[in-house]
Subunit: 132 residues, 2 copies
Amino acid sequence: MSVPCICTTLRSASRRMIAFYDETIAPVGVNIAQFSLMRSIARVEPVTLTALGRRVELDRSTIGRNVRVLEKMGLVELGRGEDQREATVALTEAGHKVLEDGAPLWDGAQKALDDRLGVEFMRQLHVALDSL
Amino acid sequence: MSVPCICTTLRSASRRMIAFYDETIAPVGVNIAQFSLMRSIARVEPVTLTALGRRVELDRSTIGRNVRVLEKMGLVELGRGEDQREATVALTEAGHKVLEDGAPLWDGAQKALDDRLGVEFMRQLHVALDSL
DNA sequence: ATGGATTGCGGGTATATGCCCGCGTAAGGC
DNA sequence: GCCTTACGCGGGCATATACCCGCAATCCAT
C-alpha cells in the first residue's frame, strides 16, 4: 500500500516542471507547451499537421487545435500543401522572434536545474524517461 | 540545439505512461487520473476538497471538477463538513469496488514495468522524479 | 478511367489542469 | 457582540490532450 505508481509520480513531476517552465518562459507570452511546439515547427517548417503530430507524438487533432491558438496569437501561419488535403504550418516573423527571445530564458531554466541536480543526473534522467 | 528540455521529455514520458495505465485500468471504467484520485480519497475519506487538493498537489478547482465527474459515475459521494463552507468527498460502495477490482490491473502494470526495466531502475526513477 | 481504400482535416465530445472572481461562512481582534 | 479578515467553494475562462465521425482529396488496382 501507499506505493504510488510511476504514472502518478510522473504526472506529478510533469505538472511541477510545467509550472516551472511556464513561469520561466512567460515573459515572451507563451507557455512551455506552445514554446516547445514552436521549436519543433521551426526545425521543419513548413510542415503538415499530421507530420508534425508524428514528430512530437501528439494526436493530429491536438496539433490542429494548439496551432490554431498560436495562429490567433500571430506566431504561426497556416497554409495549404500541394496535396489539397494538407494544412501546413510555419512560424511568422513574430514567431521566430518569440523563439529567439525565449531561448535565453529556456537556457536559464535548464541551467538552474543542472546546477541544482547536477548535469549527470539530468542526463541520466533524460535517458531514463526516454526509455519509458 | 536539438537538446530537448527535461520538461518536454517529462511531458512526453508522462503522456506515454498515462496512455499505458489508462489502457490497463480501463476495464474497471475509469482512467488512471481518476483511479489515482480515488486511491487518495480512500486513504483519508471523508475529506474536504481543499485538503484533498493539498495532499495530491492539485488545484482545488481541479479537484472539485474531477470529483464531480466521479460523482456522476456514482463512485464518490459529496457531502458537507461541520464547517458549512466545506464540501467533503467519500467513496461509495461502487467506488470501493472499483479500487478493489482495479488493484490487480494496477499491480500488473507496475510489474510489467518492473520486469522490463528492473526494480532498481524504477526505484531510482521514482526518487529522481520526486526530487524535481 | 473508375470505384474502393487510404489519407488529411475539422469539429464534436470528454477529461485534466490552472487561475481568477465573487459569494457565503468562519474566526479573531477590540 | 460587531467588523474585518481569512477561508472554502462554485463557476467562468483558457489551454492541453485524446478519440471518433464525417467530408474531401488522393491513390491504386482492375
